[in-house]
Amino acid sequence: MKFIICVCTLFLCMSESGAQNRIIARNAYIKFSSKTPLENIEAINKSGVSVIDKTTGQLEFSVLLKGFSFERVLMQEHFNENYVESDQYPKALFKGIIKDIQLINFAKKGKHSITVNGSLQLHGVTKEVTVKAFLNIQDELISADCNFIIVPSDYNIEIPGLVKDKIAKTVEISINANYR
């Protein structure tokens, strides 16, 4: 009986420490921008989800493509129906590892420059990407900021000839996530 209690206690402690090693951001802010001489297009999504494992450095980030809000409804409809086909591919998903996570002391306040190597899955295509970011450790939360570029054509996102001069060949992504 004592053995069973010890095993259960040990299991509970391990589960608890596993949960403490994971920090989660539920309202990550994502913006993408396309700039051309003809038109600047921006879209914002305020409900990305991200999880970081502080021990292993594993980082996952997912965002629902239908959650991107554009200035114009027509742009939003074209984005969902024609470009990213969000009914068929509802999410963009990034999975990666923070390089040298063991060098970061999560118990101490400070700002750290990090590199995350991983893969981005978008529109049914998965590509290896490397992202540089900043991790800001504060008292109550840990925030992460990053900017990177993607090429829509790498993910089989086709821009119709009629509007191709209005949409840039590369799109800048900005992310801010607050983890607890």
């Binding site: 989660i24 539920r26 309202n27 802010y29 305020k46 409900s47 990305g48 989800v49 997912s62 965002v63 629902l64 239908k66 959650g67 809000s69 114009r72 409804v73 027509l74 009914d87 509802p90 999410k91």
Partner: protein, 139 residues
């Protein structure tokens, strides 16, 4: 009036009408959430289960549709860029993330964690929680 002149006027009218329609479409704004007919599911937990069991089927059923959820406020985040309330219960980690527009901010400031609320919003899908955008409080 000769047929030629009449035909010219018809073409002119069609062009003007077409341009006016294209301009109206280009500048179309989001319909207000109030005007959408809403699905009122059994509970948020029921919808979460549906997404967990079969995300594609649940997405086809709920995505882009207005849904009204009743729940308890678990957290509130209000600032210049984000107006988000998470509703749910303490038994389940997953809940409903409700993104509100700025015009709701006065009513949102009155909310407290633990309050019971009814929220109507447009479903964009499920990650760790059901996500609703363009939310309004329903009295």
């Amino acid at each position: 009036m000769s047929k030629r002149i009449l035909f010219t006027w018809i073409i002119l009218f069609a062009i003007v009408f077409g341009l006016a329609f294209a301009w109206k479409e280009y500048n179309r704004t989001q319909a207000s959430t109030e005007n959408f007919d809403a699905i009122i599911p059994e509970s948020a937990e029921y919808v979460i289960e549906e997404f967990i069991k079969n995300e594609q089927a649940a997405g086809a059923k709920y995505n882009n549709k207005a849904i009204i959820f009743k729940g308890t406020v678990k957290s509130i985040e209000l600032n210049d860029s984000v107006q988000t309330v998470i509703i749910g219960n303490n038994l389940q980690e997953s809940g409903v993330i409700c993104e509100f527009e700025q015009k709701e901010s006065i009513d949102l400031k009155k909310l407290k964690v633990g309050d019971s609320v009814r929220v109507k919003g447009i479903c964009t899908g499920f990650l760790m929680d059901i996500i609703l955008v363009r939310c309004i409080l329903v009295k």
